[in-house]
Amino acid sequence: MIIRINNISKAYGTINVLSNISLEISQGRFYTLLGPNGSGKSTLLRCIAKVDSIDTGSIKFNLSDGPKSEVNRHSESLWPDVTIVFQHFVLFPHLNIKQNILLPLKSRYRENYSEIFEKTISDFQFEHLLQKMPWEISVGQRQLVAIARAISLRPRVLLLDEISSALDNLNAKKIALLLKDAVLNGTTIIMVTHSINFAKYCADEYFVITDGSIVEKNLIQQIDNPKSEFLKKSITENKYLI
């Protein structure tokens, strides 16, 4: 067990965004989080990443076992052992693509960052983007860079918020393979997506969240026999147009 989420709740004002969520996340598994717009997916990921606070409950990490790399640690910080790729504003707008990837890498790995950098660039085929500024590349390319940057940090837990929304099929497949590769190397992934096909292709298990509660969780092979209203409608009535 790498993350134990125990009965957490969060409210914005009087609105409960997350209510009594408990989950157990195993190391080296690929989870996907499904649910309608506004159901609390991003909020849950942000809480797990400790970017947002929770009102009640607890989130415990067990990062002590499993593979260890030679890395700089800033005090007690979880980051970037636990890291997240956000839905928006993913790159540093004042740095070019090369610096966007290198800056966090240098801070994590003092010595062998250039090897990892080179590998990342060739894995993602970014050679032609390096000198460009974020505003000079497309939305999908920005998302690719953000994913590459996160993977290059070799996090123990990688949280992904709708990263596939702007990717074409080929890139989505490429990313899926790179993510699966990371999972094989011990990374644990929780990914929010609206694409059931993408989820099926990547994930081992899925959760469904509606109105801030987990209403269904299962192995991905079972996703065609859904229990929750949301998934039933999504799959059987083919509500997923994308």
């Binding site: 504003f89 540093f92 004042h94 940090l153």
Partner: protein, 222 residues
Amino acid sequence: MNDFFQILNEYQGVFWDGFWVTIQLCLIVWITGISQGIILSIIAYKVPIPFFYIFQLLTLLIISVPFLITLYWFYYPFQALIGRNFSPFVTAAFTLSFINTFLVYQVLISSLRNFPNQIADTASVCGLSSIDVLRKIKIPIILRKSIPGIVMLQIFILQTSIFSGAISVQEIFKKAQLINSEVQQPVTIYSAMAVFFIFLCFPIYLLSIYYNQKYTKELAEK
């Protein structure tokens, strides 16, 4: 044209004196105003919200009063009130810095308050220490957003400095008026003044426009 160079030549020393006073005044006001503006905006950013509103209200009140009125107020009533006398130059420098401080504050506080937190969050979750987030992400972005506006304000301050002639600071415009009262050549003299300010301001405007275009693009991702 002949008149022009003749006057310029004859009153060279006087023009230089005025130019020197204007430059001194502006340098003092630029440096103190910008540094105080930075400090004030950091304070206003750190204090609890109610205090921040007090800062905002104060700023609006201060920049609502026309410069000449503030200048006269600091020159006469204020000095009478505290029972001390300051030279016109010191008074003008003080007043201009005072206003520059609040103008710079206004620009900076809006970039600070509107800073997209998600960018700072992204930097943190990528493992940058909080010092690095500040040094390598927040400050560079905030500077890029604010520099064009602040540069424009410094031109405004330069131009406003000619009002300090009203309390007999011997700046360049005051000198020009003095010369004019002797030679009675307003067309020549005021044209010379216009050219002088164009020479001074034009490069700064270009710089500001350059930065503005460059950085608006860079920050367009938002």
